[in-house]
């Protein structure tokens, strides 16, 4: 068995392996965007694979992501492409591929490795912690959103009478819920305070990185460093689905943005939300409300059956977004996937990471496809 980092010429086989096991049609340009042409720009890329007799039997990769805390910008990695051929399970392939990647993380001074997964056991064996669970903010626009939501939320048992009853109950509940949400939206003022302007970003704004720095100064903790390069890669050049970025400005100064999109399942997705207004005369809550409304109306006009976002932990901005979202008509559903986190031992403990509640996490952390 050959376990090593990917080199030129191995890409197509690794992508084929993914498509074969998941029955997906991921293109090579999507693969390249995700693993090779991301913002890291270093070779070799952190993509490990296991091969037996010219056959790929396992993959495990990192997507290097820069994060920011009050001490500055640092590299982390999102765990991605975790996949082992069922015929080769029990042979510690996952661990062996991770050995390579942990070494890579050490050499390249990554501070954390993180990810989202329903399969936490494999990760806890590698000393990952499970500090939290992604929860949902959800607003239905149509009862058809039930189908999509049922497909997304972890099921107790696949198919069967239980699911049907659940669907019927959900449909009835969602009809009532969407009417209540519609009333909330109607009652939410759409008037923009004077001095503020909302624009669609046609290109990533060069102020984005600075805005992100100010965000950390205002709210503390740590989050993905969303400079214009990152936004371009993650939101504007995403070959799976791009996002609409609506930004809020005071004069020409960028105060924050919301990013939203329409998933293949017909649901709208609140991909990101970020506000930095410490030096401005506007209340963060009112700016958040304005941007939430932009995302709600924007996805609704795109024909979404509902909109969903994440609510993850007790970071003050996450809490505030959740509070305002509920005012606008979102519902908080406490179900989702586990967050797994590995603190790279060679790195010093970052100021932003005392506890998991210091992490501000939005759906932008999914880094690729939305699901």
């Amino acid at each position: 068995m050959d376990i090593r980092l990917i080199s030129s010429g191995d890409e197509a086989a690794c992508n084929d392996f993914h498509n074969r096991l998941y029955r997906h049609h991921r293109t090579m340009s999507q693969w390249r965007w995700e693993f090779a042409d991301n913002t890291y720009g270093q070779t070799p890329i952190p993509f490990a694979f296991a091969k037996v007799d010219d056959k790929i039997v396992g993959t495990q990769a990192f997507i290097p992501i820069r994060m920011i805390d009050r001490d500055g910008v640092y590299w982390t990695a999102k765990s991605e492409a975790t996949l082992v051929d069922p015929d080769y399970r029990g042979q510690r392939l996952f661990e062996k591929m991770y050995e390579l990647l942990f070494r890579y993380a050490e050499e390249h001074e990554f501070s954390y490795v993180w990810g989202f997964t329903p399969a936490i056991k494999a990760f806890t064996r590698l000393e990952f912690t499970v500090p939290g669970v992604t929860q949902q903010l959800f607003m239905p626009f149509s009862s058809r959103s039930v189908t999509a939501m049922l497909g997304k939320l972890p099921r107790d048992r696949p198919g069967g009478a239980r699911d049907r009853i659940k669907a019927a109950t959900l449909r009835a509940g969602i009809t009532a819920a969407r009417m209540a949400s519609a009333v909330s939206i109607a009652l939410t003022s759409r008037k923009l305070p004077s001095g503020l302007e909302i624009r669609t970003m046609q290109e990533p704004d060069a102020q984005a990185g600075n805005c992100c720095k100010r965000f950390i100064e205002q709210w503390g903790g740590t989050t993905i460093y969303r400079d214009s390069n990152y936004l371009r890669w993650r939101l504007f050049e995403n070959p799976y689905v791009k996002s609409v970025v609506r930004a809020i400005y005071e004069g020409d100064e960028l105060l924050g943005w919301t990013a939203y999109t329409l998933g293949d399942d017909g649901l709208g997705y609140l991909v990101d939300m970020l506000i930095s207004c410490d030096e401005s005369r506007y209340k963060p809550s009112s700016l958040i409300r304005i941007l939430l409304l932009e995302a709600v109306l924007g996805t609704r006009n795109m024909g979404a059956t509902g909109i969903r976002g994440w609510r993850v932990n007790q970071h003050p901005f996450d809490r505030l977004v959740c509070r305002e979202a509920r005012k606008v008509g979102f519902y908080h559903i406490k179900r989702g996937h586990s967050v797994v986190l590995y603190n790279c031992p060679a790195q010093r403990v970052r100021a932003g990471y005392g506890k998991f509640d210091d992490w501000y996490i939005s759906r932008i952390y999914t880094e690729g496809v939305l699901s």
Partner: protein, 470 residues
């Protein structure tokens, strides 16, 4: 005796098409001496490694029985067979029953179908010249086309022709034998998206009247009325932008998510049942939402048809709110005369038109998925105005294909990905996502997903044509 103008015209259109959808060397080969347009007698007499295309074969008013051939992973449809040259020195390729080429032992290749006649006839609206039938809007409906009975309206015949010629000319230059594959000679399929902004508000007099009429009509006929008509009447009275103006902005956003762009054709001028349904004041508001990479064109009002004063007035009003000159457009209700409208539109600076399509049918009115130069058949001159025929209009798509609509588009794109071409899709804002038209819900999203899955790239009609005019 045929003049050289039609020959030059057809050669230019084939070359232009190749420039858009094939590699540059392949397009260059089409302009070379490797292809010659001759009379049938001259073509039969030619010898040596070259493609000879007869230009004097008559085009029958009703297409002769078509046949199909395998090519580059898809199936092509040919019709109007060219006579097999006499003698043992010519053989049919790939076979006598479904031939594509006749080849002389010296290497000369001749198409087995009336390549020149069919192409010229399709691009110059031959059927419409020969037939006088028109519908109550004075349009040539798909039902009048003799191609309908033969099942040829959904055949992009010009694209298939160019693909066959490109494959043959490139292979001939190497091996002396025609090829039936393109081997990376063609690019990805192109999708040309557009939106006719007929109604941007749902509370206009005519839309509301229709709803009320439908409700009352049921009562008069002692049938149970559809209360939804009253619901939509009331709902759009309170929120007139919902499912109309809001849909236009939603379409921009959804296209942005897919990395696609489109053209918005703006309708203004006279109101009325066949006129502009929304007040002009809504147009500047819509313009604020249209990003710079999207295109804006004029949707020629119904009553401006060949009327200089009215057309000028409509254009002038639009120019008050748009700084750049309008160069592209489509006729409202597709009310358009292929023999008079092109030169008429040219006078107003329009050089891209998307009117050549059918309101009642999804198909290739000119047998082309792409664009071509208009041709003045009287003066025998190509005009500097280009037609990008409309292939798919959402309402016709659903009416014709129902639940299979998205699969139909996928099949068309799959076909075009094998032969090169641009599929045009028109979706009205009022139909994009409107629960009043339930069968339309989600259709545009599904279509865009298919386009992405097929690797389609996007162009607006104007950007497609500008590539050729440069």
């Amino acid at each position: 005796m045929m003049t050289t103008a039609p020959v030059e015209y057809v050669r230019a259109q084939i070359t232009n098409h190749a420039r858009l959808f094939f590699t540059e060397p392949a397009a260059r080969l089409l302009q070379s001496d490797a292809i010659r347009f001759l009379t049938y007698a001259e073509a039969v007499a030619m010898r040596g490694r070259q493609i000879v295309i007869p230009v004097d074969l008559p085009v029958p008013p009703v297409p002769e029985l078509p046949w199909q051939v395998q090519f580059n992973g898809t199936v092509l449809t040919l019709w109007n067979r060219a006579p097999h040259p006499d003698g043992d020195h010519w053989r049919a390729i790939p076979n006598e029953t479904a031939p594509v080429w006749y080849q002389h032992v010296s290497g000369t290749l001749m198409p087995s179908w009336n390549l020149f006649g069919n192409t010229f006839d399709l691009l110059t609206f031959g059927e419409e010249q020969r037939l006088s039938q028109r519908d109550h809007h004075d349009r040539f409906a798909a039902a009048f086309s003799p191609r309908l009975e033969r099942g040829l309206l959904e055949v992009p015949a010009v694209n298939e022709t160019v693909a066959l010629v490109v494959a043959a000319v490139v292979a001939m230059s190497h091996t002396g034998q025609p090829s039936f594959t393109l081997d990376c000679l063609s690019g990805p399929p192109v999708v040309v998206l557009s939106h006719d902004c007929d109604a941007l508000l749902g509370n206009d007099f005519w839309t509301q009247s229709v709803r009320l009429y439908r409700f009352i009509q049921s009562l008069v006929r002692l049938r149970l009325p559809r209360l939804s008509n009253l619901w939509w009447l009331a709902r759009n009275a309170v929120t007139p932008r919902r499912f109309y103006f809001d849909n236009a902005t939603g379409m921009i956003d959804i296209e942005r998510c897919f990395g696609y762009t489109s053209t918005f054709y703006l309708l203004n001028g006279s109101g009325g049942r066949f006129g502009a349904r929304s007040p002009f004041s809504v147009i500047p508001q819509l313009l604020e939402h249209i990003p710079p990479s999207w295109d804006i064109g004029i949707h020629y009002n119904y009553d401006t048809f060949l009327n200089q004063d009215r057309f000028a007035a409509q254009l002038e009003q639009l120019q008050e709110v748009v700084s750049h000159q309008f160069v592209s457009g489509r006729a409202h209700y597709l009310k358009f005369d292929p023999f008079r409208s092109f030169s008429f539109l040219q006078q107003f600076g329009i050089y891209v038109d998307e009117s050549s399509g059918w309101a009642d049918y999804v198909g290739y009115r000119n047998g082309i998925a792409g664009c071509f130069q208009a041709y003045d058949t009287e003066k025998q001159l190509p005009l500097d105005i280009w037609e990008v025929p409309m292939v798919i209009m959402e309402a016709a798509l659903i009416k014709q294909h129902g639940a299979d609509a998205v699969n139909f588009v996928e099949r068309q794109l799959q076909h075009l990905s094998c032969i090169g071409g641009a599929l045009t899709i028109l979706v009205h804002p009022g139909q994009f996502f409107n629960p009043e038209h339930r069968q339309m819900l989600g259709i545009y999203h599904e279509l865009l997903k298919v386009c992405r899955r097929m690797g389609a790239i996007t162009h607006t009609a104007r950007s497609l044509v500008d590539q050729l005019r440069r």
